[in-house]
Symmetry: C2
Subunit: 196 residues, 2 copies
């Protein structure tokens, strides 16, 4: 009976964290053999609980009840970049070039995982749009991302606002001979004048 | 400044759990957007802390101060299977065939990671050996596993005990044309009479 405790815990951790079963098992094993690491881990989770929540406006993180993006008056309040999840914002922030706002959808339309348009709060995004808004669609370059991009475009095309989407092309380090046709086609279509 | 909190937490979690940075970030993101999952996660860690520790004899898990392996009198007390870590025991237990004891080394000799023989408590293993003991060496089939297997063999060969090691060969589902030469050679050398 007792033998099952490890499995119960690893199943529970896997379910609550979206880690794979194998990764959960390794995580738990590490924390069992090192109790100091376990305590430190719990401290980090406590920090998350106490200090980080979700912004009611853009769905990105609020640190100590302050959204670092929405409450930054230096940012261009008229540009909204739409992404699938919060980690995408982290990644875009790393390039340190984009100075507009974000809108995190939280998910993409995915019929296999039963995520239909009604499961995603598109109205929240629409309510942020005014005549001056530019919308940058930066969803994943996957089937689900395309579907969601197209859905938002259909919802917003009559609003008479500027809608763009990030470029598709060859990623840094990409080999042309391994690139799929659609990517290659996009890369040719979106070619730019060579500048030194 | 505050913006760095997420990164601090993810670095700390990664350091204390041996998860990659990317996996830590995904884990934290999941726990931020789902506070219920976060609470459940903390509950699981609390269960680990309260109920699971390391057996002083074999280094496997003790559940509520009881080692499920060492304290099971049904098991053959004369056979000790030596493995690198606790997860290996979990995996061997799943096949439900081996009914001896275990000895978890906790690590393998790894000169790249500065794990020399003096960093591993081989003496603890030696002290468990008596005239009747059979030692089954079940370390990983890697360079480090081979090194450690050989080291244990050198330490124990004069004790006049039975020392075996688990077979090397083609794993289930393995394609012969993708198999490396050493594996193939072992598989031929360890061939068995065909039985229906």
């Amino acid at each position: 009976m007792e033998k099952k405790l490890f499995e119960q815990i690893s199943e529970n951790i896997s379910k609550n964290s979206a880690l794979t079963k194998k990764t959960s098992e390794r995580l738990i094993n590490n924390l069992i053999i090192d109790k100091e690491a376990l305590d430190n881990f719990v401290t980090q989770l406590d920090k998350i609980k106490k200090n980080i929540s979700i912004c009611e406006i853009c769905n990105y993180y609020k640190i100590n009840d302050k959204c670092m993006i929405c409450e930054d008056s230096q940012r261009n309040q008229n540009v909204i970049c739409v992404v699938a999840n919060q980690l995408d914002v982290n990644n875009i922030e790393k390039i340190n070039k984009y100075k507009g706002l974000y809108h995190v959808l939280g998910a993409e339309i995915n019929l296999n995982k039963r995520k239909t348009p009604s499961d995603i709060d598109f109205q929240k995004l629409i309510s942020r749009i005014n005549k001056e808004t530019e919308l940058i669609l930066a969803l994943n370059a996957t089937f689900e991302g395309e579907l969601t991009t197209n859905y938002i475009y259909q919802l917003t095309k009559n609003l008479n606002i500027n809608i763009t989407r990030i470029a598709k092309g060859i990623p840094l380090g990409g080999s042309l001979d391994y690139m799929d046709e659609t990517t290659l086609e996009s890369a040719f279509k979106n070619r730019k004048k060579y500048e030194v």
